[in-house]
Symmetry: C2
Subunit: 330 residues, 2 copies
């Protein structure tokens, strides 16, 4: 009996999940061949997902989509989850696994506890992959290939639910990484939400200037890369900020502190202080690039960077990749 | 009589210039076929540049390199320029054009006035292209293709010198952009030096945290792209800060101001304020991407995006690749 997966929300992430499930090798993928039922509030998004074969069947409502599913993936914006959970609650199968893909987890686990019936299991999920584009038309079948996929089971999760969530993540080619929801939220605020805010800040700083008319003519790849995330969906990022306020505020504060250090060094002409900071940042980033999950070829310059990073760190420290391996991974 | 170009410093930029000169179409390039003489303080860099055919001949000293050159390109770090100018001054040909590639221009023009003889012309130059990698081994023949190339002639520049600098820029496939040196420095501080500082700040903020050991396991493409510039050469960036202190300080201050705005919005739960800021940033960046010079595929995510865009659009709409072709492809 093949697994039936309902994907609610067939945008970038939902449709990419569907493509990954549909193209997984049924011989080796833990879930085997799945039947994927899609639902989206936008009939256009649903049509594109269907046209790209990201889903096998379209459902007319969320309730219809979930009623035969043993895995239900909530792939809609975080703010919509409470209402969506309430809507599907009466229609979920006994012992179904419900999971989500939102980039904050504490609130989501609270909502699941509040709104989902005790006859189903919820395991929070967050794939560490994405694009600044939106919609099913931007979906990619290998978006999750080799990516870390955070899983946050509640304290009372059953082994069956946890195993099924793990099988789902492995079937789409990602690497399961179990993490406490509060830890997840503070870490993700630093390595994902803060980068978006800094990209938006860089864009705001220069585009608010009356000189932008001329500056825009000479802005090049450095500006383009640093601001890439600022082209992301403003509403999604507003909602992320709203559900992860205090963690994000912590990292914004830390950023202000580092920028004030830089300003002081510039004012006092302490160029050696700046150089030391730049050296530390370069060393740490180059080390990070040598981690196994950063070694895969991806969009853009990643592979090339990883190669250089490796060679530099190897020259400096031997082979640090071995030291960094084996973090908290089950 | 072909032009003779001396490139002093055959690192990333110098060797890329040599490759671009050597592969320019002699029928259509304004300078025609050039003879390129290279010199570098590192014999290894010089050997790599020669091995990659970025230069035709190796010189043993800077003085030897320039003595027959009608165009001299100073492609060494900004801090080395005063000494280098003094060294070559007695050996420069009558009416030679001297130019540089540094990312700050006010100091460089002052040094040229002070250290170069009045028998030669200096026109400051700054190609708006680069990579976070260093050395002749990272050189690319199409690094400057379609890129804006700032030119800062001094007020007393001769038309011959300005025309020759323009021909040089057009020969390597770049677009000359004339700009006042003070304006150049403040603009470049905003769109090039500040992005580096924000990349370094993001890296410092998270890697100084005791949680970095776990955060590094889930950091993904957002962190990678936002911090790419932090893998750049620390000494080069120290020198840039040192020669463009007040302009950079201005933009660091503006960044602190915007981050404080964000922090206040988070503290006061003013999510609409944040959303408006994010929308403005997205609109401005997306507009910037539509400028003609940003339409070409480049390093980083743009090339990958263009390719992915092609495959998706092909599936959806037939073959639009013809529309996208004609850019830079490695």
């Amino acid at each position: 009996m093949p697994h039936t997966v309902a994907i609610l929300g067939t945008g970038l992430i939902g449709a990419s999940l569907g493509l990954a499930l549909g193209t997984a090798d049924p011989e080796t993928a833990p879930l085997g061949r799945c039947r994927v039922i899609g639902y989206d509030g936008s009939s256009q998004q649903l049509r594109i997902a269907r046209g790209r074969l990201a889903i096998d069947d379209e459902a007319k409502t969320a309730a219809e989509a979930v009623k035969e599913a043993d895995i239900v993936v909530l792939a809609t914006p975080v703010q919509t989850l409470p209402a969506l959970m309430r809507e599907i609650a009466p229609h979920l199968r006994y012992k179904a696994l419900v999971t989500d893909v939102c980039s904050t987890k504490t609130s989501v686990l609270q909502w699941a506890k509040e709104f989902l019936p005790s006859t189903v299991s919820f395991v929070g999920g967050h794939p560490m992959a994405g694009r600044e584009k939106v919609g099913a038309e931007a979906a990619e079948l290998d978006l999750f290939k080799g990516a870390v996929y955070c899983l946050c089971p509640p304290v009372n999760a059953t082994p069956e639910a946890t195993n099924l969530a793990t099988a789902f993540v492995e079937t789409i080619g990602a690497k399961p990484y179990y993490i406490d929801p509060e830890e997840h939220d503070i870490y993700v605020a630093g390595i994902s939400h803060l980068p978006f805010l800094l990209a938006a800040a860089q864009t705001e700083v220069v585009t608010r200037s009356p000189s932008w008319r001329e500056m825009q003519m000479i802005a090049a790849s450095g500006f383009r890369d640093l601001t890439r995330l600022a082209s992301g969906d403003p509403v999604m990022h507003r909602d992320i900020c709203s559900t992860n306020r205090s963690a994000i505020k912590h990292w914004v504060n830390e950023s202000i502190r580092v920028l004030v250090e830089m300003r002081t060094a510039l004012e006092d002409d302490k160029m050696d202080d700046l150089q030391h900071m730049f050296e530390h940042a370069k060393t740490m980033r180059d080390q990070w690039l040598t981690l196994p999950q950063n070694q895969r070829p991806g969009e853009g310059d990643q592979l090339a960077d990883a190669e250089i990073g490796t060679s530099i760190s190897q020259r400096l420290f031997g082979n640090p990749a071995a030291l960094l391996r084996g973090g908290k991974k089950k």
